[in-house]
């Protein structure tokens, strides 16, 4: 386990090095003044500029400049946004929870829907129901998420009027932002309409989460199906059959557990994929998360925000990767020896 940890740390170190190097070089590659791109201090007075230049060691060589930049990042200073003049790090801290909340919800949805359906398909292998599930999964996987989002709004919000079309909660509810996680904030907040607000927030999250969940769910279906098929072929399942166990006993006591282990291995990897989908969906559903913010920054040519946002987001996804790797390694000792990229 120690070697596994060291290996992951090593990987973490190099990836972070490359990421910071990339974001540092972006400040040169973007049009405009490099110091302004780095700090977001647009139209700053000369004295402010001079002090910033000193902080970022502008008169030293580029390696020193890079380390000056690193020390700023690690003290939580990503500069200020060019358009709103707000501190980027705080802005990201404010927005990231909304994205995490949405992603987790979608992830949960994808798991509880995808895996059972995959098992059902495997149990009915080569029967019409299996083919139908596979076909639907293929379609679900192929639909682009932005189009699906618009379609969902058109159907469920405008035509049927069941669910709201965007936002995190109706603006009528005043929820004091404590952590940024809406459901948590509602529960710990002191308002007279906790229950109403909770329902409202729930109604708001269903549609975007369902849209995000579709693609990962179809992957889970296929993973679960394959895993279950492999398990059903094994000799210990055959042995249980020979022992005369009922169908339910075979499936729920033996097959499901063993195939779940195989599925879990891949589930974590899907989370990063899902966060990417969430970022696009946020734009369509007006979700106040980091994806919408980043895409707006791109539109506004706010180079400082783009750099900071990319850095934080990619590190976030990377950290999620490592955590899921860890969980898997804890569950399955066989994986601990595997080198990265060898699977």
């Amino acid at each position: 386990m120690l070697i596994f940890t060291l290996r992951r740390l090593n990987l973490f170190f190099f990836t972070m090095f490359l990421l910071t190097l990339l974001s540092f070089s972006l400040s040169f590659l973007f049009p405009g003044d490099q110091l302004v791109n780095l700090t977001g201090a647009l139209n700053a007075s000369d004295s402010v500029r001079d002090s910033l230049a000193a902080i970022y060691q502008q008169d030293s060589n580029i390696v020193v400049q890079y380390f000056a930049y690193l020390s700023q990042i690690f003290s939580g200073n990503l500069g200020t946004a060019m358009t709103t003049k707000s501190d980027i790090f705080n802005e990201i801290l404010r927005l990231l929870p909304a994205t995490i909340e949405l992603s987790l919800f979608a992830f949960f949805l994808a798991t509880i829907v995808g895996i059972p359906i995959g098992f059902i398909a495997a149990i009915n292998h080569k029967k019409p129901i299996d083919n139908a599930i596979l076909a639907v999964a293929m379609v679900g996987y192929s639909i682009p998420v932005f189009w699906l989002g618009l379609l969902a709004i058109l159907t469920f919000s405008i035509q049927l009027g069941w669910l709201p079309s965007g936002g995190q909660i109706s603006l009528l509810y005043e929820i004091e932002p404590r952590t940024g996680f809406m459901f948590y904030d509602i529960l710990v907040g002191s308002s007279d309409y906790k229950w109403d607000a909770l329902q409202n927030a729930f109604a708001h999250i269903i549609l975007p989460a369902a849209v995000i969940a579709i693609a990962p769910a179809t992957i889970f279906i296929r993973l679960a199906r394959t895993a279950m098929l492999t398990v059903l072929e094994t000799s210990y399942i055959k042995a249980t059959r020979a022992k005369g166990l009922s169908f339910n006993q075979i499936i729920f006591r033996h097959a499901v557990r063993n195939s779940l282990i195989k599925v879990i291995q891949h589930i974590g990897l899907q989370f990063a994929n899902l966060v990417t989908l969430a970022m696009i969906t946020e734009v369509i559903f007006n979700w106040p998360g980091i994806g919408r913010w980043l895409i707006e920054s791109i539109y506004q040519r706010d180079y400082t925000s783009i750099q900071g946002g990319l850095l934080v987001l990619s590190s976030f996804i990377f950290v999620v990767h490592i955590i899921t790797d860890y969980i898997y390694a804890l569950l399955n000792p066989l994986a601990r020896g595997a080198k990265y990229g060898s699977r």
Binding site: T83, T84, I112, I123, I153, S157, I158, G161, W162, L163, P164, S165, G166, G167, S170, L171, L172, Y173, E174, Y193, D196, L198, Q199, N200, F202, A203, I206, F247, N248, F252, N286, P288, E296, Y299, Q300, R301
Partner: protein, 540 residues
């Protein structure tokens, strides 16, 4: 397939809250909160909470009539000037001295950041205007020291002195009579701030808060604001004019026009600004589409200090090559008039003898030849990224113009930025031409000429053509110094002729302002001038 009992149990435990939540979430429209709150989907974020310091229509809509009052105001029906914070006023015969008698029963907002100890009086009026007039005033430089509307109308040169006679009487002394002075005081910009609040902030060394955490006398007080997403007002319980029916007024800032339409259709917004798909809204029995004839102008402004548009012949050539009729039908859906002058036809000073430059690509080509640039001319058109009554879709308009001009061999690049960036770069004069417009703040014709094309407005930034013509300037100056309406009309006609000759900007359309709402929302919101007003709105 038989399912095992634990699975059924688990499923029912999982699904029970989901199902119940969704079901309840659908049918209860939150009766209690929704009934005394109103959500307005606006098109952009306000840049300040003090109308004195801005010209942006979005800011005026969000702030002017909600947070503040003025000494006098316009009657919404006939545009006459009626009392507001001043219950009456008196004008001396020479027109140089105006005395206002103030109301005694007006209270300022009590908010999280300020608790007033006294009611509104003459000190507040003095403070509000001294801040603009007196460059030595401690609050003058706060927020950049720019008061664009007042600088445009030459307020500082016009007003000699503002004097407090007693606690409830204030006198303005003017250097010369000015026919639009009262109209200027009645606009959305001439708001009354709290002197007591300013004093408190000065003690705390937080002067700049006066323009971001506002205190006024208006029907609503600020609760919270997050740029780009939401602006929340609570009602002012002691509003002097009427009991405000709405407890909470929320501005849901939704920049995309389809987003606003969706929210209207799904009942997430009660009222939306600048609706699209008029047909769809009219078909829906629960929705109402309203329009007011607004005093405005949508134009293509040429940057006259930069090539190629420093050459008036090229400006004229381009003007001949643009098909305004097509623009009116495609962009305004025929809800606008082709503009011949920068003044709308409803204005008494409009020159009815003016004829719009005809659409004639061949003439345009000749003119380009005359200017020596028959081939290879290319320039940028900046299209504003927000919707306005005077230009509901600048980007598409730019594309139409691009197509028109490609017929005469002129290449056009379309440029657009996010609104704040757009304005910043525009102020710096980075554009070659720009699609923009102007909404009048009051019915006086001067409100079109001075802010858009005078040399003075070159400095304050609303003259996007960067055009300064001495003859034109002296004409509009003369027109202000007389109250004789025939004389003024003659002067303004000459001014319009100069514009027709020089074409610093090409007037395109005068449009109506639209708004859509749920029929449950009652009360007048829009008027021909200035911003939206929620003070008298009720919701059933």
């Amino acid at each position: 397939m038989k399912t095992s009992p634990w699975l059924t149990k688990a499923l029912s435990i999982l699904s029970a809250p989901l199902v119940s939540l969704t079901l309840i979430g659908c049918n209860s429209d939150d009766q209690t909160i929704a009934n005394d709150s109103l959500i307005y989907c606006s098109e952009g974020s306000p840049v300040s909470f003090n109308p004195q310091t801005v010209t942006s229509g979005t800011t005026i809509d969000a702030v002017a009539n909600q947070v503040y009052n003025r000494l006098i105001t316009f009657n919404k029906q006939d545009n006459s000037i009626v009392p507001a914070l001043a219950k009456s006023w008196h004008l001396t015969r020479d027109g140089k001295m105006i005395t206002f008698y103030l109301r005694k029963d007006v209270s300022f907002h009590q908010t999280d950041y300020f608790t007033p100890t006294r009611a509104f009086n003459a000190d507040d009026v003095l403070f509000s205007f001294q801040r603009i007039l007196d460059e030595e005033h401690p609050y003058h430089p706060v927020s950049g020291g720019r008061y664009p509307f007042f600088q445009n109308v030459g307020f500082t040169n016009l007003v000699d002195e503002v004097e407090k006679i007693n606690d409830y009487t204030v006198r303005f002394k003017l250097n010369q009579a000015n026919s639009s002075f009262l109209a200027n005081l009645a606009t959305d910009y001439a708001v009354i701030l709290s002197a007591e609040y300013a004093e408190q902030l000065a003690h705390q060394n937080q002067k700049s808060d006066i323009d971001t955490l506002p205190v006024g006398t208006g029907p609503f007080k600020l609760k919270s604001y997050q740029a780009g997403s939401v602006l929340r007002y609570y009602k002012h319980p002691n509003y002097w004019r009427n009991e405000v029916a709405i407890k909470q007024l929320v501005f849901d800032i939704t920049a995309s026009d389809t987003g606003r339409l969706t929210k209207l259709l799904t009942n997430e917004c009660d009222v939306i600004a600048y609706p699209i798909a008029a047909q769809k809204i009219q078909e829906n029995p629960e929705l109402a589409l309203e329009q007011v004839t607004a005093f405005n102008i949508g134009y293509l402004g040429f940057n006259t200090q930069k090539p190629p548009f420093d050459n008036p012949i090229i400006r004229r050539a381009i003007s001949h090559a643009i098909n305004k009729e097509a623009i009116i039908s495609a962009i305004y859906r025929d809800q606008a008039q082709v503009a011949t002058s920068i003044l709308p036809e409803g204005s008494w000073a409009h020159d009815d003898t003016l004829v719009a430059l005809e659409y004639s690509p061949s003439k345009a080509k000749e003119l380009l030849k005359e200017a020596g640039v028959e081939d290879g001319l290319s320039f940028d058109i900046w299209a504003m990224p927000v919707q306005r009554a005077y230009n509901p879709n600048a980007l598409t308009m730019a594309k139409l113009i691009q197509a028109d001009l490609s017929q005469i061999g002129v290449k056009v690049d379309i440029v657009s930025y996010e609104w704040a960036t757009f304005l910043r770069r525009l102020n710096a004069g980075e554009h070659q031409s720009v699609l923009l417009g102007w909404s009048a703040d009051h019915p006086d014709p001067d409100n079109f000429f001075t802010p858009l094309l005078s040399c003075k407005s070159l400095e304050t930034g609303s003259n996007r053509a960067f055009w300064c013509d001495q003859e034109f300037d002296s004409l509009i100056q003369l027109a202000l110094q007389t109250t004789n309406i025939n004389q003024r009309r003659a002067l303004y006609r000459q001014a319009q002729n100069i514009i027709q000759q020089e074409i610093p900007l090409l007037p395109i359309a005068h449009s109506k302002r639209f708004q859509a709402r749920h029929k449950a929302v009652k009360g007048q919101l829009l008027s021909s001038f200035g911003g939206i007003d929620f003070s008298e709105v009720t919701k059933l």
